[in-house]
Symmetry: C2
Subunit: 188 residues, 2 copies
């Protein structure tokens, strides 16, 4: 690289989210994102394949972290307890990320193509978690159902967290969602 670009990736991400929020995702170009970040378009494309990648570049890292965390919980834990522990750990990734997450969610909700991409990422995450549980010896349908329950809790808790003011951590919302899922499925 010919120039010193401290935290180019983070600057591009922030510039992209700001522009997507201000003028809409469709109306924003990679060149505009680079300009707002004070970087060149070439630098943008060194870090991201396209403007969608800025929103979803973190998804495979999240999946990897989710799977590694679940795989690392004690084998003796009930599958749903292993999932609860995993959600607690995953929530720590989002400390200091409330404003970023809120902005990203608003951009995604406003665009059908991005909503679909997010659904696909979550389905991939669910399949990866089910496979991890099966490797721990959990049979199906329990493995698939536990993974789906985990993703439901994550999705619902996450949405409630981004809709909140950011004072309470994501882990609180995930814990509440799991508790509520238990209540509704029990029919109590």
């Amino acid at each position: 690289m010919s120039r010193w670009e401290p935290d180019a990736r983070g600057r591009l991400e922030k510039a992209a989210l700001d522009l997507y929020s201000e003028r809409g995702y469709e109306q924003t170009t990679a060149a505009q994102i680079a300009e707002r970040a004070g970087l060149t378009e070439r630098t943008f494309f060194r870090h991201y394949a396209d403007k969608r990648e800025v929103l979803f570049g973190g998804s495979s890292l999240l999946e990897e972290f989710f799977v590694d965390t679940l795989a690392g919980t004690p084998d003796t834990a009930m599958p749903i307890d292993a999932m609860a522990t995993t959600l607690e750990t995953v929530a720590t990734l989002f400390l200091e990320r409330h404003e970023h997450s809120r902005q990203r969610q608003a951009v995604i909700v406003a665009n059908a193509e991005l909503r679909e991409r997010e659904l696909i990422k979550l389905a991939s995450l669910s399949a990866a978690l089910a496979a991890t549980l099966r490797r721990r010896g959990v049979k199906d349908p329990a493995a698939t159902l536990t993974a789906e329950a985990g993703i439901t809790v994550f999705k619902v808790g996450f949405e409630r967290w981004v809709g909140d003011n950011g004072e309470r951590p994501l882990s609180d919302f995930l814990r509440e969602s799991l508790r509520e899922l238990r209540v509704v499925t029990a029919g109590g």
Copy 2:
């Protein structure tokens, strides 16, 4: 219509599924489907917008039936019990449809674009069920979680049913999946 075409829609659907299974979804054209069904291409396009529509034309009917059934369950029922009753009723739509459902599922699983379309249809169904529960006075997150639980049970039960030999009805698999979801979320 100039010609008498008894059950043209059903014949086109069967011809399409047979061709998708034999030579693959991508390799099949609307003209070939019409020919196999002994109908004209013009007739095909009177019934379906394109070859994907043959697979997903039923999805909005399914959503409507699902929502109407849920809306019609007694208001006194717990949300998850209303969902269980709804699943029982929806399962009756699939009596005599095992072979058709098995073929359709195999075509969808083999194609990334179709898998994504199916995910989107299920997400739409989940949102519609949550909205129906909210109209019955169920608060969030309970409404969303119950709807998501219902979709998870439907998805997992449906997959197990199509993977079975067709002797047991879908309702058995949905009931088992719900019971299992209750067991895994309870951690028992």
